[in-house]
Amino acid sequence: MSSRTLPLLFINLGGEMLYILDQRLRAQNIPADKAKKVMNDIITTMFNKKFLEELFKPQELYSKKALRTVFDRLAHASIMRLNQASMDKLYDLMTMAFKYQVLLCPRPKDILLVSFNHMDAIKDFVKDTPSILSQVDETYRQFFFNTNIGEFQLIRQTLLIFFQDMHIRVSIFLKDKVQNSNGRFVLPTSGPVPHGTQVPGLIRIFSCTGEEITRLKFNNGGNYTTALREGSFDIFGDRVTKLGTNMYSVSRPVETHMSGTSKNSAQHTKVSAAPNPLAKEELNLLARLMGGLEVQKPGNTDTDFRINLFATDEEEEEALISRPDELSYGVINIQATKDQQANAELAKIMGEFTESGDQSPSVSNKGDDLLAMMDGL
């Protein structure tokens, strides 16, 4: 499948993460200077040069576990801390939001517009230090410069495989009626058709010389209207689509429903975890990517603070206990430390990944090989 998917996945998921964190920071009345520091630190980490270099290399998509590790680390790039239950919920929200955006993109190419919406918002979060993002705009545009429509569809199909069988119910989606109670998104058969598509309902027959002989209409079974104008792919511009813009605000709490997810989801999330999630190749790539994420020294206890994705601490504890096994990401909390220590931590974590899931015996030396590779750096 496409080897150009990771940057899209990362930037869009990162964007959603920032929307949610921003909302929680406000909801918990975190002092403005601390909140701003957190947002700045995370955004700076996300877009640091070394990390971007790794991100934009053509490569296969990571497994859910591996990507979750990257976001865990990212979320802890500042003085903010998250307990596992909150981190799980954060990741659920991020992934379901982006799944929704990918599914509802009218054309595959519109995923870029969704990314630009996220990037526009991120720019706004750091509008006092705009230089952080100048690099990204250029890199992004160059990366997707010559991608044809068929290739964008391949990217979209690759993303949809990543999101396959995820049906976590998000209360904001349920309230807005964009998600059904079985966790599936609503796909309307009405509204504007994508740019470049005609409203269905017409059959035209031509003669051998190209003249139109017959024109027949048929009932399209929906309620479609003509396409809107095309969104802008420039550095600045009206993206037209609302997908990828911030749907959270202080008054709209972020909840996910764990219980009552459709009874098939248990069976299916297990199966989708089966394809050898952390093959040696992927571990090496992940190590390089993580190596690029600059690690902060742990702050003093008086500057560090904890963010809760739930309304109360009790709810958070309850969520951790009651999370269904098949939906656990199996990730260990990473303590941000000096680089060398972090690398050893990383190797240990990689070693620990081999315990769960269907790992075949031949990859049991992963941890050792990785350590050896680290020594060589």
Binding site: M1, S2, S3, R4, K57, P58, Q59, E60, L103, P106, R107, P108, N148, I149, G150, E151, Q153, L154, R156, Q157, I161, Q164, D165, N180, F185, V186, L187, T189, V193, P194, G196, T197, Q198, V199, P200, G201, I203, R204, I205, F206, G210, T214, L216, F218, N219, N220, G221, G222, Y224, N264, H268, V271, S272, P275, N276, A279, K280, S360, S362, V363
Partner: protein
């Protein structure tokens, strides 16, 4: 015109891939095989016609070695040749051919995959059985591999590589009317919407090229010398294969078309798209007078589902089956 029948449950959900359903009707044994791709697996279910027996089987993509990441499957399709039926599975790493019940793999062809991934993805996609004993498979580079298939055994050989397309192959189809009189017997389509029309033989001959006008073609069929192509813009176009004359243009769907299929004995046409709709049409094609007629007959909406596969279950179009992204069932419809 059609009503919904009992669905067949499958072991995993269907992935969002073009033409993600293949059907093989085995009359002597009164059963039908269905295949649906999920990531790196093919789900195969054999359903007896009396609706009492369902046998499931799963085929995995072949991994060159365990340490590398899994190879995702792009397509699985049954190939019907005069002497035998095979199941062909195309993935990022290569092409696997199985006996039609999925029991034994009879052939493996590895694609040239680079050491480190390149920006251009590598995969095989687009499968067709072509008169008289060829199986053609498309590649992401635009090349078409022509395999010579003996009437039995595993001595399948790569006979030719056709290099005409410059963009990734999306789908291909052979003439399905059963008529030996058609000059063209293969049509191939690519990401750019370009269509190539071929005549099979020891050396395949390119008869015509129909340009894409920047609309990606995801699914294609060939019937009575007419190419029926489904595009990403939701349009269906009917072209006279050998001349490239556009006979009909249908604004058929509001989103990307994922599958078109034809019931060769009746001229029924099935189209399905990301817009949740499956539509049935009827085509009347008279090659002698160069006349083409298309009428719309029926719509089925699979609520909240992006459809990825739709096929008639028999040559008359009496029944058809549908798969959708994230759906773990094959939905069936039969004529009322």
């Amino acid at each position: 015109m059609y009503h919904k029948e009992k669905s067949i449950q499958i072991k995993n959900s269907a992935s969002a891939l073009y033409n993600n359903l293949s059907v093989l009707r085995i009359a002597p044994r009164r059963l039908t095989h269905f295949t649906v791709v999920h990531a790196n697996m093919v789900n195969m279910v054999s359903a007896s016609w009396d609706g009492l027996n369902y046998t499931h089987r799963q085929l995995q993509s072949k991994e060159p070695n365990v340490a590398t990441s899994t190879s995702l499957i792009m397509q699985a399709a049954f190939c019907v040749l005069p002497s035998r039926d095979l199941l062909v599975v195309t993935s990022q790493k290569g092409i696997q051919m199985y006996e039609s019940d999925g029991s034994i793999m009879v052939y493996w062809h590895a694609l040239d995959t680079p050491e480190t991934p390149t920006a251009q993805a590598v995969f095989a996609r687009g499968i067709a059985a072509v008169y008289e004993n060829y199986i053609c498979v498309g590649v992401s580079s635009g090349a078409i591999l022509v395999f010579d298939v003996p009437s039995k055994g595993s001595n399948i050989t790569l006979s030719e590589v056709l290099e005409e397309h410059k963009e990734s192959i999306t789908d291909m189809a052979s003439e399905c009317s059963g008529s030996q009189e058609c000059i063209a017997n293969l049509v191939t389509a690519d990401d750019g919407g370009n269509l190539c029309v071929w005549k099979s033989g020891e050396e395949f001959q390119l008869l015509n090229k129909i340009p894409g006008f920047d609309m990606s073609c995801s699914s294609v069929k060939l019937w009575k010398g007419t190419v029926v192509a489904g595009y990403g813009t939701g349009q269906i176009r009917l072209y006279e294969a050998v001349t490239g004359i556009l006979h009909a243009e249908i604004n058929a769907h509001a989103r990307w078309i994922y599958s078109v299929d034809i019931a060769p004995f009746s001229g029924l046409l099935l189209s399905a798209a990301e817009d949740s709709l499956v539509r049935v049409w009827h085509m009347t094609i008279t090659p002698e007078t160069n006349s083409v007629e298309v009428v719309h007959l029926h719509n089925e909406c699979v609520t909240d589902t992006q459809i990825c596969g739709a096929k008639f279950c028999d040559g008359d179009g009496y029944a058809f089956a549908v798969t959708g992204y994230d759906l773990s069932e094959i939905i069936r419809y039969i004529q009322s």
